[in-house]
């Protein structure tokens, strides 16, 4: 038996039922003695089988040879791996919506098997094979007739409030989840929601009245332990929350970026040629993981993902990420994960001691980073010098496929239309010189019928 492994995962400490840790590059979860009764019931009641068979709960195997804290350990389980950890503030509207419905479906199934979810954190959901999946095996406890759902408040804060705000107020309010680690406070959601939102009973009840009740009973002493709620009423509550979530919608309207491909200055031939260049480069380096920065709706990400490569398709535009995700759902794609990311302010580490939720960089590096039709936006629109860009990309990928767009390109000209051209350094020579400090330039190919050049570069940091 191997014991005393002190490599606990920084996000796993709130629930005394157990914790996750890493050993030899694999993730394990210790089930503490205190959780024995609930774990045994989860496994023997048929709930685990029902949820894992339907793809709602991460499957695991028991591995009692590895023990982290022997005095406290009942069992050690090894969950199947999730290729990339993402967070709710990186999800599009439908990703958060599907995560919410998965949580509610699990709670409904759990109640039918005599268990209940003791938390409803959005961080318990990850995307695997294109679908949301619940990853916290220790979130279940034996249901006692009469008990309310302890995670009701958390569900409203983590899911209903942000979805309501994204749907009724502004899609960008999902970024409040970055600030409020335990979900958006309901009094704040109430202030930000427009009056018309409360014509919907579910938002009136679960947000407005909920927030008022929190305020009203905030400093009152009521012995709630004497009272109970029937199982049927609880199922009614879950059913209503499901209807509430299903009824919230957001249409990705034609933003500048969501319609980018339609407005692109590429000819059909140039576009096809660019795809061929990308295919050749990927063949040459044979990567396992791909991060596509500025992926838009994921046209070029799919060159990688359709070859079986796990591809994270990042973009800063909510509409583009939403349309990318909906395409994944429609085509049942399993190797691509669209995520929201502002490259000029990449996801930072947040939570307790700034370690609870990982920064983007902590989740890398990827085998290859793609930055296609992106450099001119960062350099001209965001005043990022080539040196900074080269340094940045070198921290995220072992290989880099990057497109250089000269100033005489119509898109670059358009970016300079409303501002003074202070970018005398924006030349291909300077681009090569600065990137050469961090990368070895392996190959460069000019795109036919265009002035653009695609580079394949190898990070000099690789040994």
């Amino acid at each position: 038996m191997i014991n005393k492994i002190d490599t606990g995962i920084k996000s796993s400490f709130r629930d005394p039922s157990g914790f996750t840790f890493v050993y030899n590059g694999l993730i394990y979860r210790q089930v503490n003695l205190i959780y024995k009764q609930h774990y045994d019931y989860l496994m023997s009641s048929g709930l685990y089988k029902a949820l894992s068979n339907s793809g709602l709960l991460i499957p695991h195997s028991e591995n009692n040879l590895i023990v982290n804290e022997p005095d406290n350990c009942y069992k050690t389980i090894q969950p199947e791996s999730v290729p990339f950890i993402s967070y709710p503030y990186e999800w599009s509207f439908s990703q958060l919506k599907h995560a919410a419905l998965t949580t509610l479906e699990i709670q409904r199934t759990a109640l039918n098997f005599g268990m209940t979810l003791k938390d409803a954190s959005a961080y318990n959901i990850q995307f695997r094979n294109g679908k949301p999946i619940f990853i916290d095996t220790l979130s279940f406890e034996i249901y006692k007739e009469g008990s309310p759902w302890v995670a009701y408040k958390q569900f409203c804060q983590h899911f209903l409030a942000p979805l309501g705000l994204m749907s009724y107020t502004d899609i960008r309010l999902n970024q409040l989840l970055r600030i409020y680690i335990d979900g958006i406070p309901l009094d704040l959601a109430d202030k930000l929601l427009p009056f018309r939102a409360y014509f919907r009973f579910s938002l009136l009840a679960h947000i407005y009245l909920h927030a008022k009740s929190q305020k009203h009973f905030g400093n009152k002493e009521v012995d709630i332990n004497k009272h109970k709620i029937s199982r049927l009423s609880l199922l009614g509550l879950i059913d209503n929350l499901m209807c509430a979530v299903k009824g919230l919608n957001w249409k990705p309207k034609g933003t500048e970026w969501a319609d980018y491909y339609e407005n692109s200055n590429y000819s059909e031939e140039a576009m096809e040629y660019k795809k061929q260049i990308l295919t050749n480069f990927l063949d040459k380096i044979n990567p396992k993981s791909v991060w596509d920065f500025g992926a838009n709706r994921g046209m070029f990400s799919r060159i990688a993902s359709n070859r079986g490569l796990m591809t994270i398709s990042f973009d800063a535009d909510n509409a583009a990420v939403e349309r990318n995700y909906l395409e994944c759902v429609e085509k049942s794609e399993t190797n691509i994960l669209p995520l929201l990311l502002d490259l000029t302010n990449p996801t930072s580490a947040v939570g307790w001691d700034n370690e609870e939720r990982m920064s983007l960089r902590e989740r890398g590096p990827a085998d290859v980073v793609m930055a296609l039709a992106l450099v001119h936006h960062l350099a001209i629109s965001n005043n990022m010098p080539f040196k900074k860009l080269a340094e940045f990309f070198s921290k995220y990928g072992n290989w880099l496929i990057i497109e250089f767009i000269p100033k005489n390109d119509s898109n670059a000209k358009w970016l300079l239309k409303t501002r003074e051209d202070i970018f005398s350094d924006y030349t291909e020579t300077n681009f090569r010189e600065e990137f050469n400090k961090f990368f070895q330039i392996v190959e460069s190919v000019k795109i036919k019928d265009s002035e653009r050049i695609v580079y394949l570069m190898k990070n000099r940091g690789i040994k």
């Binding site: 609930h38 909920h210 929190q214 905030g218 709630i224 049927l232 009614g236």
Partner: protein, 63 residues
């Protein structure tokens, strides 16, 4: 208000003290949950048994 809530909250042995809860469910959240669930429980029964209720009335009228 408290009287109305007491009407909806049925007395019993099992409250949140029986739950091994590591998160704070929040007093105001539990109270509003019980109130909303009491209302929704009734409509849920009708919704879940809608076909059965309809067929019951149909068979009653046929007689």
């Amino acid at each position: 208000m408290e009287n109305f809530i007491s009407f909806l909250l049925l007395n019993g042995k099992h409250g949140i003290d029986n739950i091994y809860a590591y998160i704070d469910p929040g007093l105001g959240s539990v109270i509003i949950q019980v109130v909303i669930a009491a209302v929704l429980g009734f409509s849920y029964v009708i919704k879940a048994n809608f076909k059965r209720i309809i067929s019951f009335f149909r068979s009653s009228f046929r007689k």
